[in-house]
């Protein structure tokens, strides 16, 4: 009787061990059945071209914002600088085989060329695309506020974030200042046809500088920009 119990327990133990091995083996090994007329196929399809901001763990950052350096109130026109893209907020482009002839990444004002920097209550504003005196004076545009934003991708650092891709054949855009009706979109990256069809990259350190008009009211201002990735 006792012997039978031991045998049963040994059988249970064996079953448990076989189950454990079976799960690992079953997961690690793709089953293939050698039959005379049966094939097992695996398709890998292209994904979609995307862009967003992610942290160092590649987790998307909700509502990413990049602050320019704070400046004090001034009776003179002045400049504030900053960067788009940092270690904690990387500007990513993913091309999982979606664009096979290159792509572009561009940056433009979400609300269009007539938008401005605004405070939370939208009672104060200054412009981002008035070229008059490099943004220190108001020109003949839709608004009555001076100010100009310059974006300089050429000083940024582009990094390939996958084992099979490189940054070859991807050029960074030149320093460009927004000018209403003349230059409403700035090219951040331009991937040539020979760039990797499957790849993932991120950009950090894109230089930005904003002309702040003289006597601009003390407050915190925001401008909404949209990054667009487009297959060429």
């Amino acid at each position: 009787m006792r012997g039978n119990n031991i045998v049963k327990k040994l059988l249970k133990l064996s079953a448990l061990m076989v189950a454990a091995f079976g799960i690992v083996a079953g997961f690690a090994v793709t089953p293939s059945y050698a039959a005379s007329n049966t094939n097992v196929t695996q398709s890998i399809t292209a994904g979609s071209l995307t862009t967003d901001i992610r942290d160092a763990s590649r987790v998307a950052v909700a509502s990413p914002t990049f602050a320019l350096g704070a400046v004090g109130f001034s009776f003179s026109c002045q400049t504030s600088t900053g960067t788009i893209g940092s270690t904690a907020q990387r500007l990513y482009v993913d091309n999982p085989g979606a664009a096979n002839n290159g792509w572009t990444l561009t940056l433009a004002a979400t609300a269009g060329a007539t938008d401005t920097w605004k405070n939370a209550g939208t009672t104060q504003s200054f412009d981002f695309n008035d070229p008059t005196t490099s943004g220190c004076d108001d020109g003949v545009d839709a608004d009555s506020r001076p100010g100009q934003l310059t974006v300089n991708p050429s000083v940024g650092t582009l990094t390939a974030d996958c084992t099979s891709c490189t940054t070859a054949n991807i050029t960074k855009g030149a320093s460009s200042a927004y000018s209403q009706g003349v230059l409403d979109s700035v090219t951040i990256l331009n991937a040539a046809a020979a760039s990797d069809d499957a790849g993932r990259w991120y950009l950090t350190g894109v230089g930005v500088s904003q002309t702040i008009p003289a006597e601009q009211a003390v407050d915190s201002y925001t401008v909404n920009l949209t990054a667009t990735v487009t297959a060429s």
Binding site: I6, S48, T65
Partner: protein, 399 residues
Amino acid sequence: MRQASMTAITHAVITTGKYMAYAMLAASLLVVALAQSSFAESGGIGGRPSNPDPANNRSQSIFIKEIKPGAIANDSVDVINNDDTEKTILVYATDSAKSSGGAFACAQAVDAKTGVGSWIALEQTTVTVAAHSTVKVPFTITSPANAEPGELDGCIVLQEQKEATRQGGIALSFRTAIRVATFTPGNIIKNIDTLGIDVRQANESVTLSPSVKNTGNVSLDTKVTTAIKSLFGTTIASKDNTFPTLRDQVTQWNIAMDKPFWGGLYSASYAISYDASDNHIGETKDDTQKTIQGQSVYFVAAPSPVAALIELAVLIGIVIGIVKYFAYRIHKKTVDEKWVDHTIIEVEQLQDVAARHGISWKLLAKANKLKAPYSLPIGTTIKVPHLQKKLQKNGRRKK
């Protein structure tokens, strides 16, 4: 007793083995769970053409439509959600827009549509897509009756529906766009004019920026070859890239290259080539490449730090060599013109002869090209300074 011990041991083995098996089972399940989560890496949202043309590889990435004036083309776009959560995605059409450097861009949603953006009618403009799923959105493109021959571009844009934020600074939103290239048949003109090339230098790189203008009525996939050449025509560095150049636009590319190691005068050159046949973009049958050479410019490149040190050392060596050569020539002239012959009539040491004439024995040996052991056989004639003039000179010095 012995049987009881055996039974106890057996039970212990079985119990231990049972716990080990449970542990292995748990570990294997954990491995599976971790592996599954790494395969499900979260992405964004995007899209692609639903019905690419098998004969045109480019149609997998962009829409390419030939439409006669007044005709309607049908297609659909795959709206893709790569995220782990359900997304509400805006789908809308826009005109194309110009971006800095002539790159392709799409107008904003708020911008008025006056071009291809107004030709596109989507069945849905808001789509809810489940996690890791795709939804097809049909659309039509209606070409105006008065459409002129050539290519015009628009976009189909996909953007997650989100509220704009105002937290101070630059707030970024993101979207993916698919170019819609429409062709109206007729007289297709393909032409590109070269405009020149700029050169900008940084610490370790040189950026060549060639510019061209597409004066035709269709966009062209343009291969641009840039090169840095020495004065002798040797190619120091060269790169090839192919980019689309859009109709009626000036396009400028920024091609970064390694700075030449040796500083000096170099030329920056470029050439462009494109398919001058009747092919649409992406078509390659019977293509006829036309190549145009752009105007080169010269620039002076600073040497790298190592090259600068080498060049400085070589320069110093050359200067020292020149100085030494002229010093030798002057001394030789002095010896030839002002020294006199002295014949050795008795055994003398070179040092004694030199001391008698008030010069060093090394100078005397050098002037007469004497080699070690510097012996002076009787009858040898050597050049020595004129003793009388030497005494006169010494006398003037003592005064």
